[in-house]
């Protein structure tokens, strides 16, 4: 089991009063899981994803990642966890505009302390994996939306994480491009990485083996295929 979340809640203190974004969610993520989280806007999907990715901490409940209680980890250890065990793909890509595709993918490897030759080898492999070897030296401004997202996926896979989290990965892409991204994510999952996707895209969600329907901060029901 990669993630074990038991009755996790996330409450935001607002001037108008506390807002419960996630309420008593219990969820386990295992190796090779392919999970889609769906629900109307504001139901807490992204908040749940952020907690699973150790970007945010639950207000109550227990979240174990690889058996470790995330709430008890220091910020530095959580960063380390995200660097080595978790990959993130964002709706807005968040590629660094001043770096080439190659340099963007290499960034997490460099931060993890990988040597130069190892970084170069792994980067080339990843860019080939996502089909962008020919565009390795292009900057994000010179890439299409789909290409940028593929670079972002390659970056997320740099340190061979156990778990890949994607927040609306096709949100800013057209249908055809979105399909390409969906196929790539399927391949990532098939190759052994657990995948959790937050999405409004029905087609993308349909590819998952488990679909969690959220409403008002809780998981209403789960569909398993």
């Amino acid at each position: 089991m990669i993630v074990d979340a038991q009755n996790v809640s996330r409450v935001f203190a607002m001037p108008a009063g506390p807002v419960v974004a996630v309420r008593d969610v219990t969820l386990q993520i295992n190796q090779r899981d392919h999970i889609a989280i769906r629900g109307p806007s504001g139901c807490g999907k992204s908040t749940l994803l952020h907690m699973l990715g150790c970007v945010d901490a639950p207000t109550t409940g227990t979240l174990l990642f690889g058996g470790e209680n995330v709430s008890r980890l220091s910020d530095a250890k959580r960063s380390r966890l995200r660097l080595r065990q978790i990959g993130f793909v964002f709706q807005r890509f968040f590629l660094l505009p001043m770096l080439t595709a190659r340099e963007n993918v290499e960034l997490p490897l460099s931060e993890a302390g990988a040597g130069k030759s190892e970084r170069q080898k792994r980067t080339s492999e990843l860019l080939a994996y996502v089909g962008l070897s020919a565009r390795a030296d292009h900057r994000p401004s010179q890439l299409s939306g789909g290409e940028m997202q593929r670079v972002a996926i390659a970056r997320a896979l740099a340190n061979q994480p156990q778990l890949l989290l994607a927040d609306e990965p096709t949100g800013e892409l057209d249908v055809a491009t979105g399909q390409q991204i969906a196929e790539l994510l399927d391949r990532v999952n098939a190759d052994g990485t657990a995948l959790v996707i937050v999405t409004h895209d029905q087609e993308l969600a349909g590819r998952a083996r488990r679909v969690l329907m959220m409403r008002d901060g809780t998981i209403e029901h789960e569909v398993t295929t």
């Binding site: 992204s46 908040t47 952020h50 990715g53 970007v55 945010d56 910020d75 530095a76 960063s79 380390r80 966890l81 995200r82 660097l83 080595r84 978790i86 990959g87 993130f88 964002f90 709706q91 807005r92 968040f94 660094l96 505009p97 001043m98 770096l99 340099e103 290499e106 960034l107 997490p108 460099s110 931060e111 993890a112 970056r155 997320a156 340190n159 927040d167 609306e168």
Partner: protein, 401 residues
């Protein structure tokens, strides 16, 4: 990619902005550097000027040379002092105002320095007048003088020519007949200001020009000691307690307390203002830059970049802007210092060889330290922003925004 490489790429990403930031630091840094040069420049230059001509001690009746009454029995005093065992030689200097008649009719105002040497028996010290001969030779007798380059040019005089001068030996209200003197050489007078026209000659020549109406009064006695200047000064004070014997250090110290101190104070004030200005502007530059990249920074944190790493990135960016700008500020500062020095040397009474801005290694070290502190302090607030950035909230805001 390490933090410095990352910072470089961040700067290069917006070349116009980066270039302007660096240029701004260069301009401010140049001013800062100049203020540091000014803070000790005048003192260093004066000390160098005093030490250069070989006299250790100045003896006056007042507080500073040429500021105050004359030594009434100057000639006698010089002989007494010359006999002291620790004294190698004494040069007595008497200064009088003089007008040089010109064919055009307009008289030239000048300052006439009459000097004479007194040595202790057997030292064989040759007369070393307070000027340096550029052309011709030194004045030999009571009928000869040397003149400054400025007089030579304005009065069209060369070595061998004659000049007519009317000195004022006792007060400005004299009307002495003109005296003809022979110009033996053109000289440089180190303690004369750029606008001051100076004539030099023996004490006898001055007496000659003043029709003998000089008496024993002198303006200053310049003393060369055999060994330690402080010991010699003490001996002079013991022999003549009515006079003020000052070593070169004493003169510099006195000047530091009076007119020179203004420049030290103003340089301190301007240094503080400049550093504050630089810190403020670089802080604003970095803060705006960071605020524009919050989404990227949150994404990097989500990817696993540690807090320390993103903080280092910001600090490196600050270090690059200040570092490159700081390096540029050095030649710029030296150029600016030349201009400012020229302005300040226009002050009346400032010796031509005195400089307000003098390069010293200490000033460079302080400059670099201040730049380092500036880079660090300026980065504090933006570092705080990135280190306390709420990752999830920022990512959410980026999507909404």
């Amino acid at each position: 990619m390490n933090a410095l490489g990352f910072a470089w790429r961040s700067l290069v990403r917006q070349p116009a902005r980066a270039a302007l930031g660096i240029l701004g630091v260069a301009a401010v840094g140049a001013l800062l550097f100049d203020m540091l040069l000014l803070s000790q420049g005048l003192i260093t230059s004066m000390r160098d000027l005093l030490d250069r001509y070989g006299w250790d001690i100045r003896v006056v009746a007042g507080e500073l040379p040429r500021q105050g009454p004359r030594i009434r029995d100057g000639v006698t005093a010089s002989e007494t002092i010359a006999m002291l065992p620790s004294v190698s030689g004494v040069l007595l200097v008497r200064v009088a105002d003089a007008k040089i008649d010109r064919p055009s009719g307009t008289a030239l105002n000048a300052s006439f320095q009459g000097v004479d040497v007194r040595t202790s028996a057997g030292t064989g010290v040759a007369r070393r007048p307070p000027w340096t001969i550029l052309r011709g030779r030194d004045a030999a007798g009571p009928g000869e003088v040397v003149i400054s380059e400025s007089i030579a040019s304005q009065a069209h005089l060369a070595p061998g020519a004659s000049l007519m001068l009317r000195p004022s030996c006792v007060s400005e209200h004299e009307a002495l007949p003109p005296t003809t003197m022979r110009v033996s050489g053109i000289a440089e007078f180190p303690f004369a200001s750029e606008t001051e026209d100076t004539i030099g000659g023996s004490f006898a020549a001055l007496r000659n020009a003043c029709s003998g109406n000089v008496g024993d009064e002198v303006d200053v006695l310049l003393v060369t000691s055999r060994s330690d200047a402080d010991v010699t000064a003490a001996a002079i004070r013991a022999a003549r307690p009515d006079l003020n014997a000052m070593t070169n250090d004493d003169v510099v110290g006195r000047l530091q307390q009076t007119g020179f101190s203004y420049f030290r104070q103003i340089s301190t004030v301007l240094t503080a203002v400049t550093v504050s200005f630089a810190v403020l502007l670089i802080t604003v530059l970095l803060t705006v830059s960071v605020n524009q990249r919050l989404g990227e920074i949150a994404a990097l944190r989500a990817l696993g970049f540690s807090r320390m790493r993103v903080v280092k990135d910001v600090l490196s960016e600050s270090a690059l802007i200040v570092g490159i700008g700081g390096l540029l500020s050095l030649p710029l500062g030296l150029l600016l210092a030349t201009g400012l020095d020229d302005i300040l040397k226009g002050m009346p009474g400032i010796p031509a060889e005195l400089h307000f801005f003098v390069f010293e290694r200490g000033a460079l070290a302080i400059h670099l330290s201040l730049l380092l502190a500036t880079a660090l302090i300026a980065a504090l607030y933006p570092m705080r922003i990135v280190s306390s950035l709420p990752i999830a909230a920022t990512l959410r805001d980026e999507v909404i925004g």
